[in-house]
Structures are given as structure tokens and as C-alpha cells.
Symmetry: C2
Subunit: 328 residues, 2 copies
């Protein structure tokens, strides 16, 4: 067990040594930099979180033919920094105060500092990517940032209406699944895995990322605040329509327009949020979204069939199971 998150699961134990190395490195990212950046790094990585993405990098790297531990950790660190940088910037855009039970950088310092801290983290991520021996993998890191930016722009420029299921799925593919795919596919490429295995791991990552985000969006509506580490109902507060809400509206027959308007209302009181949470929980929305997450989970497992039968493949299955069954 490392940090504050229990890592008793087999999938963590297989890559425990790499994760410990990574945690040490992440805490060291601010060394030599401006004191405010050093403090922000210490703050951000004090609770390392689930480290699911690096875990995927380390497990996927085991399917390669050439394993250079140092290089694989560089990729994991690079992609984790891309992830962290994008969260820091997203929290500015979303005016979020808390993430993973910890104050956001914009809340603890301010928006301006969060903006620069994010830029710094992106720069560190690219500096690490730059020394990777495979230009294709370097390109994957940059392409992942493009996808994150495309997804974020899609989110903040979205019209006032409720998005379609497809628009929602496209957005989370850009904003979440692209990074999961990059972890799995990047690690496989870097370790010179068989092209079929690279493709299988890429498909696994994409489907896993979709399952992860839909589950996250369900938990935001039905989760227990203490477990979840975020404020429940945050998506409603921010007027961010998610799949369980889209399904809840579809479930209302004639009254869908009314629920949609309440979901999209710009300023909501605590009472509004409470009533909306009740109504959405009473609908089939959360359960239908769960089913959609399970479908992506199943697709991720099918992708694993293309890999050799190893303990790491079983571990990736466990990761997929964990992602849809977690309570936080």
C-alpha cells in the first residue's frame, strides 16, 4: 500500500515497485522551479490518487518485447502530468474548489497561478516525452493533449440544450478515453509489442476510459460524498449534462423538457440540486448509464482476448472490473 489509497488489489501489487518510483518522482517535479510551483506540486501529489493511468502504462508495458524500466516510467510520469495539468486547468474553467477531497490549485491560490502551474506541468510532461526513444510515442503524448483540448473546447462552447447521447460519448472519448488509450497503446509501442497487441491494448484503453467516465458521472449523481471524494451533484451545479441525466430526461415521456430545463438552469439553489438529485435517482437514468458503462467494460474485456494469457492480462481485467464497480 502506498499513499492514502488502498492498493490491495492484485493489479496494483504487480506494479507496486514502479508505482512507488513514480510517486517519488511526481513529488520531485517541482525541484529547482519557482517556490509557488514547488508548493503546488507538493499540494497536488500529497494524495497520489488511484494512479490508474500509470498502472495501465506499467501493465501494458509487460506485453512488449523490449523492456526498459526507466523509459516506461518516463512515459507513465509524462502522461500522469498531462492528466494533472489538464485537471488543474479544467478546475479553473469549472470554478471547482475541491478535487479528490483536496482544495484545487485555483481555490488554494488563484486562477492566475493555476493557469501557470498547469502550463508548467504540461511543459514537464513534454520534457519527459521528448527523451522517449520512439517518436511515435512522443506524438501520442501531443495528440492526447489535442484531444483533451478539443474535448474541453467542445464542453465550454456547447449550446444551451441537452446534448445527444452521441455528443456526450464523443466528448468523453476526447476528454477521458484518449488518455487511457494513450497509456496502454503508448506503453505497448514503447516496448515494441506485437502490432496486434498494440491495437488490442489501445482498444482496451479506449473502452476502459469510456466505462470509467460514465461511472464517474453516475457516481456524481448517486455517490456518497465521503466515499467519492468530490462534491456530489457537482455536474448539476455546473450545468454539465451527463449521460445519466440525458437518459433521465428521455425517461420522462411528456415531462422531459421540464426536467431538461431544470438540469440546464444556470443558477441552482441547494434545494434545486436536492430536488434534481431525487428526481434523477428515481428515474431509470443512472441505471441505464450503468448498463452503458458495463457495455464498454465488456468491450474492453473482449479487446483483451487478443493478448497472450498472462498474469498481467488478468490484472487488466481486474482494473476494468474495478473501474465499473468502484464507489469513488
Amino acid at each position: 500500500m502506498v499513499g492514502k489509497v488502498s492498493r490491495g488489489d492484485t493489479f496494483y501489487s504487480l506494479v507496486d515497485a514502479e508505482l512507488r518510483d513514480l510517486e517519488r518522482r511526481l513529488l520531485d517535479v517541482g525541484r529547482g522551479a519557482h517556490p509557488v510551483f514547488r508548493d503546488a506540486v507538493a499540494h497536488l501529489f500529497q494524495t497520489p490518487g488511484k494512479l490508474l493511468r500509470p498502472t495501465l502504462v506499467f501493465l501494458a508495458a509487460r506485453f512488449g518485447q523490449k523492456s526498459d524500466r526507466e523509459v516506461v516510467i518516463n512515459l507513465a510520469e509524462s502522461l500522469e502530468l498531462v492528466h494533472t495539468a489538464s485537471l488543474v486547468h479544467d478546475d479553473v474553467v469549472d470554478r471547482a474548489a475541491v478535487r479528490r477531497n483536496v482544495q484545487t490549485v485555483n481555490a488554494r491560490w488563484n486562477d492566475d497561478i493555476a493557469l501557470i502551474v498547469g502550463d508548467y506541468l504540461f511543459a514537464k510532461a513534454y520534457a519527459l516525452a521528448a527523451v522517449l526513444p520512439d517518436p511515435e510515442v512522443i506524438a501520442i503524448v501531443a495528440q492526447t493533449v489535442f484531444a483533451l483540448c478539443d474535448g474541453e473546447l467542445g464542453e465550454i462552447t456547447a449550446g444551451r440544450g441537452l446534448p445527444s447521447e452521441q455528443t456526450y460519448l464523443d466528448r468523453i472519448e476526447l476528454k477521458t478515453a484518449s488518455l487511457y488509450a494513450a497509456c496502454c497503446q503508448g506503453a505497448a509501442l514503447l516496448t515494441e509489442a506485437d502490432p496486434e497487441h498494440v491495437a488490442a491494448l489501445g482498444a482496451f484503453g479506449t473502452n476502459l476510459g469510456m466505462a470509467f467516465q460514465i461511472t464517474d458521472d453516475v457516481l456524481d449523481l448517486v455517490g456518497d460524498e465521503t466515499d467519492f471524494g468530490k462534491t456530489v451533484g457537482r455536474d448539476l451545479l455546473e450545468g454539465m449534462p451527463t449521460l445519466p441525466m440525458i437518459y433521465a430526461v428521455a425517461d420522462q415521456d411528456g415531462k422531459g423538457a421540464d426536467l431538461a430545463a431544470r438540469i440546464l438552469a444556470p443558477a441552482k439553489s441547494a434545494a434545486d440540486i436536492g430536488a434534481l438529485l431525487d428526481d434523477i435517482r428515481r428515474s431509470s437514468g443512472p441505471e441505464r448509464a450503468r448498463q452503458r458503462a458495463f457495455a464498454f467494460h465488456d468491450a474492453s474485456l473482449r479487446a483483451l482476448d487478443g493478448l497472450p494469457d498472462r498474469v498481467e492480462r488478468a490484472a487488466l481485467r481486474e482494473v476494468a472490473d474495478f473501474v465499473v464497480s468502484r464507489v469513488r
Copy 2:
């Protein structure tokens, strides 16, 4: 002549073909991306500006032993995108409405969009850097972004007092000179120039960048608004103390504390700004800062002595002369 800026000077004509290619590429940066990013790119590069940094890349590349035009243009584009991305983010932090006579991205759209547009531009910059054949040059691009972030953090976390001359110089070295140095040194490294020439070009770039920024800060106080393309007195409005202000305060004998307090006052009326501009213009501050800029200019010329006597060396001299004699 390309774009709206006169490029009659010899130093531009030597690299005119590369600059035209670069302008076309910059306008194309948004292709395939989110429509809002495409619009922002078109907006940002509608007036290409002075393109001094790419000009330095192209001139410095002529001192190398191996010239690959495509690779050199990639470096120039990458560094120009780093520059543009950092301006877009700085304008958010500074709440700036106009730059180069054009609305800023934050003013035309909003802060959130400017944040993501900047991230996108940085990602494009790194994607271009990633394909450069020299890992050392890729590292220079990332290190330049660290320097920009360090400088910006230093700026926004600065105490309320007037900085010392040294603090000011350290800050502009990070925020401006580092990029000029990266252009000159990166191009020389990339074209496998003699190590002595790489060092000479790096020193030239650093000193040129210092001269450029001090001149810019003087123009902000004494420039003609129509020529300068920025709002004169902006640094005063933002409470950003610059070298001519620091010297103006030092010039006041007993009354320096009063002037410093007026410069640092958080909210200033148009009348306050007008009175401050008058007082600073009447002091020796702007002239002393000019002298400091000339000293860096002279140091940049001395660095050029280490290079072979070619038409490109004469062109770099012209760039240095232009930087300290320009009115905008």
C-alpha cells in the same frame, strides 16, 4: 513585404521565403481542430507581427554546417507557437484587451477559451518540436517554457514593493530573453554549427532579448499609441513596475517613496495614469533605461564577433539595431 508589417529591411529580405512559408503554416495550425480553435488561430495570425523570433531562427540556421530547410522551419514554428501561447495565457492573467492593435483572445471570446487555446498552441508547439532530429533542441523548447512559467510566476507572486533592478532583469531574462536565446541557439544546434558559434549565437539572443524587453517597457511609457500598437501606460495600469519606473523612482531623491507608492497603487484613474506618465517622462528614468538597453544591444553585437563575417552576421546586427531603435 509580407502581411501588414513593413519588412523592407535587409535582415527580413534574406529570409523572406522562409518567413512566407512560416506565415502560411501558422495560419494552418488550426486545421482539423475544434472550430473555435480554428477561429482563434485565424484571429491571432491575421496580423503576423514582426516575426523577429523566426527571423532569428532562419538567420542563425545559416551558420550551421547542415541545413535542412524543413527542420529549421519546424523549429521556427514551434518557438513562435510557444511565444503566442504564452502571450495568450499572459493576456488572461493581465486582463489585457488589446495586443498588436488586435483584440486579445480573452477579450474576443473569454478567459476559459483563451486558457484552452493557449494549451492547444503549446501542444502544437511540442508536437512540432518532437519531430526535430536533435533531442537537445527538443529539450531547449521545453526549458524555454519552464523559463517563461518561472518568469510569469515571479511576476504574479511578486511582493507589493518596487522590485530591485536585479529582480527586474532576472524576470525579463526568464520571460523574454530565454525565448530569443532559444531561437538563436536552437537553430545553431539543429544545423550542427560549430560549438563556439552556438555559444556566440546564444549570447547574442540573450542580450538581444534583454534589449528588446527594456525598449518595450520604455515604449510603454513614452511611445505613441498609434505607432506602438498597444495601449501606452498599460504597465502602470496593471501595476507592473518596469525598469524606467525603477530608475524614475531612484531619480527622485527624497520623494522616491511617494512616486513608488503612486506607481504601485492598485486602482488608478485615467488622470492618475496621465500624471504618472508626465512625472516619469520628466525624470531620467526612461533615458537611463534606454542606456541600459543600448548596453545589452552592444553586448549582443560583441557576441556576434565570434561568428564568421557573412551577410547573415550583418543582418543580425541590423536586427539588434532595429530592436533598440524601433518605435513599436
